[in-house]
C-alpha cells in the first residue's frame, strides 16, 4: 500500500472509518499482515501427543497445526491438497498419522509429506513426491508453550519479534500451579464488523466503566465494595510493547479473571482474564473470535471449576460483558460507519499530550489513553507499506 493511502487511513492521531469497512484494504491486510508476520496458531497443550493436530487459520487460509507422529515437531501446513486444492482435514482437532484427500486419494503423513497416491504411473518417472507435500509455513516457533507461525521465510526470530511481550507470556505460562493448559473447550462468537475493532476492544480500559457499568454495578453490590475506576487508573498504566502489541497492568482484581493484566499480541492474540483469545478475520465486515479458558495443570478441580464459572459470567456470547461489547463496540459502530465512505475521521488522540517513554523507551500512559491503539496502527502501517 502506498504511504499516502496508509496515512489517509491512520495518520498517527486519527483513523479513517475506511480502515474498518474497505474490502480492498482487508485483502491487503491478509497478504501483508497475516501472510507475513508472526501469527499465533496454537498452545502446546492443544497438541500434547505426537499425532495431535488442530485446524486454524492464517488470515483466511485454513491450516493444520500438527505435532509430528514420529518426531514430535510442530508444523503448520496449508489445509490444501497439492492436486486440486481440496481441503484434506475436516475436523477442528484430533489425532492422525495421515491426511488423505477424499478427492483423488493423495495421502500426506502428518508432517505434510506426500507419501501416496493412486495410479502414480500417470505422472511418469520424473515425479518427485517431495515437491508435492502440503505447503508449510516456513517458520514455526514456540515460546513457553505459545506457538506462532509465519509465512515469511525472512521473519526475525520469534523471540526478537516478541521482545517486550515475552515477560507477559512468561507470567501467563506461570499463572497457574504446574502451568496452564487449554483443556476446557472454547466459546465462539462472531460479529459483523472488522477484526481490528476486536483488537481495540480487547485492550480498552476507557470503556470498562461505561459499556460495562451495569455489570460492575452488579458485581459491586455482590462483593460489597465497588471498583473505583478513577482511583485505580491513577496507579495503573498501559504500555506500548512494540510491534503493535500492548499491555494494561491492572492493580486490582476486577472479579472476572486470574491474570493481573490484559495483553494484546498483534495481530490476532489477546491474553486476559483467564483466557486466550484468538481473533480471526473473515472479511472487512465479519470477524470470528474464539475464547479458550486456561486451566491450571496442577490446580484442583474445584479451583479450575471456579475459574471457569468466573469466566462464564462475563465472557462468551451470553457473557454479561461480551454481549454488551457485541452491541456497543461492534453493532453500533457498524451502524455509525454505514455509508460513511471516506467521511469518518475518528480521533485516536487520547493521551498524546501526556504519554511518557517507559523503561523500554516505548509509550506509557493512563489506562484510559489510546497508547494501545496507536501502537497497533503504527505496526499496521509498517506492514502495509513495507516494500516488496
Amino acid at each position: 500500500m502506498e504511504a499516502a493511502r496508509a496515512d489517509g487511513l491512520f495518520d498517527g492521531e486519527a483513523v479513517n472509518g475506511r480502515m474498518y469497512t474497505d474490502e480492498a484494504v482487508f485483502e491487503e491486510e491478509m497478504e501483508r499482515i497475516f501472510n507475513r508476520t508472526w501469527v499465533y496458531v496454537a498452545h502446546e497443550s492443544e497438541l500434547e501427543s505426537p499425532g495431535d493436530y488442530k485446524t486454524t487459520r492464517l488470515g483466511l487460509q485454513s491450516v493444520i497445526v500438527a505435532r509430528g507422529a514420529d518426531d514430535g515437531v510442530i508444523r503448520v501446513m496449508l489445509n490444501r491438497c497439492r492436486h486440486r486444492a481440496a481441503s484434506v482435514c475436516q475436523t477442528p482437532c484430533g489425532s492422525a498419522n495421515f491426511f488423505r484427500c477424499a478427492y483423488h486419494g493423495w495421502t500426506y503423513n502428518n508432517k505434510g509429506e506426500l507419501i501416496g497416491m493412486p495410479f502414480q504411473d500417470g505422472y511418469g518417472p520424473d515425479l518427485d513426491k517431495r515437491e508435492l507435500g502440503l505447503a508449510q509455513a516456513p517458520r514455526v516457533a514456540a515460546y513457553r508453550g505459545f506457538v506462532f507461525a509465519s509465512m515469511n521465510e525472512a521473519a526475525p526470530p520469534l523471540e526478537e519479534h516478541l521482545r517486550h511481550v515475552l515477560p507477559y507470556l512468561d507470567q501467563t505460562a506461570d499463572s497457574a500451579p504446574g502451568g496452564i493448559a487449554l483443556r476446557a473447550g472454547a466459546q465462539r462468537y462472531a460479529y459483523p464488523n472488522n477484526w481490528k475493532l476486536q483488537l481495540e476492544n480487547t485492550i480498552d480500559p476507557y470503556h470498562a466503566s461505561i459499556t460495562h457499568q451495569s455489570f460492575f454495578d452488579m458485581l459491586g453490590k455482590k462483593m460489597g465494595k465497588r471498583i473505583n475506576f478513577k482511583k485505580q487508573y491513577e496507579v495503573e498504566r498501559v504500555n506500548d510493547l512494540g510491534g503493535g502489541s500492548s499491555i494494561y497492568h491492572m492493580d486490582a482484581d476486577f472479579g472476572i479473571g486470574e491474570l493481573p493484566f490484559i495483553l494484546l499480541v498483534f495481530p490476532n492474540l489477546g491474553i486476559l482474564g483467564s483466557q486466550i483469545r484468538v481473533i480471526e478475520p473473515v472479511s472487512a465486515g465479519a470477524t470470528k473470535v474464539t475464547l479458550y479458558p486456561m486451566l491450571g495443570k496442577a490446580s484442583s478441580d474445584a479451583d479450575n471449576a471456579a475459574r471457569l464459572r468466573k469466566h462464564e459470567i462475563f465472557y462468551g456470547p451470553a457473557g454479561q460483558g461480551t454481549a454488551d461489547d457485541l452491541e456497543v463496540a461492534f453493532d453500533r459502530v457498524a451502524e455509525g460507519l454505514a455509508g460513511a465512505g471516506d467521511g469518518a475521521r475518528l480521533t485516536m488522540r487520547r493521551g498524546l499530550h501526556r504519554e511518557q517513554p517507559d523503561a523500554n523507551g516505548l509509550a506509557c500512559s493512563h489506562p484510559s489513553d489510546e497508547v494501545p491503539f496507536r501502537s497497533l496502527y503504527r505496526e499496521w502501517r509498517r506492514l502495509m507499506t513495507a516494500g516488496g
Partner: protein, 157 residues
Amino acid sequence: MSAERFLYYEAELLDRGDWAAWLELFTPDAIYWMPCGDGREDPELRVNIIYDDYERLRDRVSRLLGSMAYAQMPASKTIHLITNLVIEEEIEGEGAVTRAASNFLVTELRREQTTLYAGRCEHVLVPVPGEEGWRIRAKKIMLLSGEAYLGNLSFMM
C-alpha cells in the same frame, strides 16, 4: 397443569420478555445450563455458554431488568416453538419429579436481523405443593449451533 402446558407457559413468559415472572419459575437449587457442545461432557470442567445456579441466574435477570444492559438495547423479540415433547420420567409422591425433553426453535428478531436457534431442551420439573403448576429445577439447552460462532445471546432462550 401438564408438563407440556407448563413449557408453553414458560415460553410465553420468555416471548413477552417477562423475566421477573420467568425467574420465579426456578427453584432455589436450580441449574440453568447451555453447553457449548452437546452437553455430554462435565459442565464443571468445560467452559459453557451459560452454567448458572439460581443466584447467577437471578443476577443475570436483574441486570436485564435494569436500564443499562446494552446487549438488549434494542431488545430481542422472540417466538419459541416447542415440539417433539417426550416425558422421559415421571415420579410421583415423595420426591416427585418430571423429566421432559423437547425440541425447540427460537426465532429471534433484533436490529432487523432474524436468527434461528434450534436445539433440544431438557427440563427437570418439580410440582409446587398446593399449586397447579411446576417449578424448574434444571433447564439444559443444547443448541444445534452450540459449537458454531454465535452472536449476541443475551436474551433468554
